[in-house]
Symmetry: C2
Subunit: 545 residues, 2 copies
């Protein structure tokens, strides 16, 4: 009906592939040709996904992209789930990139904010991981994907092993829309232990001079767990896990949840809860879960990604972890986020600030950190239609339209980092919104999605609160000596406790005097190794023996 071409993307790709034939051998690019190859394969203004997961970085490709001539390639629209490496931002200083869409910018969050202020970086949007993956198939379809795998064969089949992460999702978006897929691998081998991604989806493979960067992000040394955290953990177990019959859950990163993991085989066991709660998990293989796994608490764990040092352990526990025919773990960030949103009873996380109505954010003054997966898992998914006992337990009315809720738990000490109160009248995030000219305030978890808050003072059952004022009162009751906490009168406190809106340790039969480090199933990393039967290999920095 008309003469327009419907294969412009495919034709462009074909041309680009032809332009590097002198630099490649089949699908293999030699590392030393990478700069030149990128200058042929990428055009200015292209949408480029650079793999930076939470832990796993396409570090060689990131460096190679930094080495291209900004006169040849500039103003790329970069998509990175995590801005983790300094060179992720150097790209923008050089003008190779100009716009960024991302999910998380932990260690680089200060610099991100500064560069936006300086006009060096044009901000796209902050996403949860899952939103960003979704947009890769809608309005952020990539022209080029730069990703990392463990091994490849000569044909370009990929082995991603324990750290499969988001690699297949990114590749799928690019590959099936005539994008160019370039993969750095630690090793090119004749036969792969298993195929995680078929070669048909891959255009080029480069053996990186160094293995890809991998961080042990989910490892918490039990020696760092305080008795206040143990007290909070005991309250959480009694007042939430046991009370609501929580079967499946996700734990965020942090010492609070590490404490709970280490209390299950001791305190949890003493309450007779083994086999009754916390059986199914969606989280990375936390080393602090080893004692609970070994004691038979855990039926299954599906993971977003791997964890450095846990490779041999996970491989030896296939009844618990998802593993492949080669024995190694299989992770999948997109599917695990789906499970973490829709298929578990509870999310437990922490925050740097919470306002008096339960809104929380880790975006604080001058830091544009993003939230990774927390908002995705830390909200009540309105699309959920199946029920579980914990979900139904959140019902507070008997309307025929009533349904359950996901348990969204925030745990923190009333005074946080730098000894400043976590409860604040107004989130720094509001200021950051204005400074960085964001469309909305970067809130991590909204107050109306939070069902429980745990501090060292007690548990606030926010799902029972009727209206904002009551939510504020319940938070005040567990806010200690912070400004919010001082609002509380003994009479009001009594009322809140009687109505079950707040529980103090004594209400939960948790004895403060029992909250000792001796209650932890493992007190240090060495004991985790012992629990693992020598299968856990902690990174050097966690070894002090």
């Amino acid at each position: 009906m008309n003469n327009r071409s419907w294969t412009t993307k495919r034709d462009e790709k074909r041309k680009k592939l032809a332009s590097v034939q002198h630099l490649v051998k089949g699908k293999i690019i030699d590392a030393k040709n990478m700069k030149e190859a990128l200058e042929c394969l990428i055009s200015s203004g292209d949408r480029v996904v650079l793999e930076g997961d939470n832990q796993k970085q396409a570090s060689f490709l990131s460096e190679a992209l930094n080495s291209v001539d900004p006169k040849k390639i500039h103003d790329l629209h970069m998509i990175m789930s995590s801005i983790s490496r300094p060179d992720h931002l150097t790209l923008f200083e050089k003008g190779i990139g100009s716009k960024i869409d991302f999910s998380y910018a932990g260690p680089q969050s200060l610099r991100v904010a500064q560069m936006i202020e300086d006009g060096m970086l044009k901000m796209g949007e902050i996403h949860t991981y899952l939103e960003l993956y979704g947009r890769l198939f809608v309005d952020l379809i990539p022209k080029v994907a730069l990703v990392a795998a463990e091994k490849a064969d000569e044909k370009g089949n990929l082995y991603t092993g324990s750290n499969t992460e988001e690699t297949p999702t990114i590749i799928e978006a690019a590959s099936f829309k005539d994008g160019i897929v370039i993969v750095q691998v630690n090793e090119i081998v004749e036969e792969l232990p298993r195929v995680d991604i078929p070669s048909d989806w891959v255009d080029f493979v480069v053996q990186s001079p160094e293995p890809y960067q991998l961080e042990a992000l989910f490892t918490r040394d039990p020696s760092g767990i305080t008795e206040l955290q143990i007290l909070m953990g005991m309250m959480a177990i009694r007042g939430i896990y046991e009370k609501h019959n929580v079967q499946s859950l996700n734990h965020g990163i942090g010492f609070n949840t590490a404490a709970i993991e280490l209390l299950l085989p001791t305190y949890g066991e003493s309450l007779g809860l083994k086999g009754k709660i916390a059986k199914h998990w969606t989280l990375n293989p936390h080393p602090t879960l080893i004692p609970a796994i070994e004691s038979g608490w855990v039926e299954s764990i599906h993971s977003f990604g791997g964890e450095v040092g846990m490779e041999r352990y996970t491989a030896a526990r296939p009844d618990v972890f998802f593993t492949g025919k080669d024995g190694k773990m299989r992770s999948n960030r997109a599917l695990c986020q789906v499970a973490g949103q829709y298929a578990v009873d509870m999310f437990v996380g922490s925050t740097l600030q919470m306002d008096y109505y339960g809104n929380s954010s880790t975006v604080t003054s001058g830091r544009l950190s993003g939230f990774g997966g927390a908002p995705n898992m830390g909200h009540n998914p309105h699309g959920r239609r199946h029920s579980t006992p914990a979900w139904l337990d959140m019902i507070t009315t008997n309307s025929s339209m009533e349904r359950g809720k996901k348990l969204v738990v925030q745990m923190f000490e009333t005074y946080g980092q730098g000894n400043s109160p976590v409860f604040v009248e107004s989130l720094d995030a509001i200021k950051v919104r204005d400074e960085a000219d964001l469309a909305t305030t970067p809130v991590m978890i909204y107050g109306d999605d939070v069902t429980h808050v745990v501090t060292e003072e007690g548990v606030a059952y926010l799902y029972k609160a009727e209206g904002l004022e009551e939510r504020r009162q319940a938070l005040s009751a567990i806010a200690g000596v912070t400004k919010l906490g001082r609002e509380q009168s003994p009479k009001e406190m009594r009322k809140l406790r009687d109505r079950g809106l707040v529980a103090l340790p004594e209400d939960l039969k948790v004895k403060r005097t029992e909250a000792k480090r001796s209650l932890l199933a493992a007190k240090n990393v060495r004991e985790l190794v012992q629990w693992s039967d020598g299968l856990y290999d902690p990174p050097e920095k966690f070894k002090n023996w």
Copy 2:
């Protein structure tokens, strides 16, 4: 630390695989050995996923499972995203299965309800597709997966082509947890056009005597579109798509949305909207989208699955559709649902009943249908953090915690099937909950998630309604001569229109007299074929020439 085995699942799988060695050749099972093989590979009580997508059915494996001896194999816990075939339920009549977890039961919904009442079927839960996939990695991890692909090679690599659908997701859950994966294929070939699923994930392949069942679920014949539907479509385009600057969207199945698709190149064009709205889509390749695609309205479409007859057309339009290196479309139900939840501005669907507060359900008396993906896409995802113009347009306050909303649109005529009013005081779903002993009422979309309702009378902008009473009034204003509609007074109507809570055709400058079938870009299937340049091959039942 203890002597328990951590490889019980792997050991059991090894034994099962060994037990069928006399029936297989490598990974290939001969169709005539299927019954015996299943009797060896499945144990009573096992959790078994049987692929029944919306359109694609593992029909041979479903029949084979029905042929096993119920004395040998009984009380299976079946997981089926869609209960579509009579033999899906015969399984339970025979006692081979006893419990079911599912998402959708369209044509079998009456029988499902009856069998539950008769105690023949133990109901698990009703899920959205995405919830069900999530649970496959948490607490519904399958022991056996019975799925369908188009082709396999001798090694067990799979080609799923246009209908990739949910196959890789199901296989991933089973395969990486030592489950057994059995795939029926239409053809075993030497070389696949492309590999969609690597052979490492597959245990057995059987060449089915008949190709797998495939239904043309998303095909709507334009000759069935009424002038009332055209009027509603015009109102939707002006009053929603244009008004809110909708860039990305999902359309459900139905004549209402088919009308909109066919109005874009005519009515939409006359409004100068081409290139401005409705550019990115998440939906199956609807034939009624062909004229909009050919006219240059559509930048991208990512699909849950394929559509019968659209194979050559999608292959010839790779700039729009996701396609593989062999040229054929690639779909992915799980990722498209993620995109449809999180990455698009708007969902437009229909319903059989809506109560006076906007709660809707397609579960009506005696029918336990489930909802497929509608609730997943038809809700406001609280985990969303990125903004778009349409999303921001839903903001009605200036609180610093305010954020946008997904547009969730319900479109229907005030009198529906059997000439009964769609607006009802109480949803039949409440009765069904009681009869089938469900934990909550099977609501498809909750009133508090619906932003717009369109009837032949006008558009109700529910996102602007403050409180339940106002929501009811806005609905009443577009409820025509139904009982709810008769509540409306002219004075109230005036007020609602002035406040922008309701728009009538004249408010939107939509002329009723222009709502003619001549406004459709294609008036019948034959014209769709013409628009497609002969690339669309409609199934026989849609051909009347």
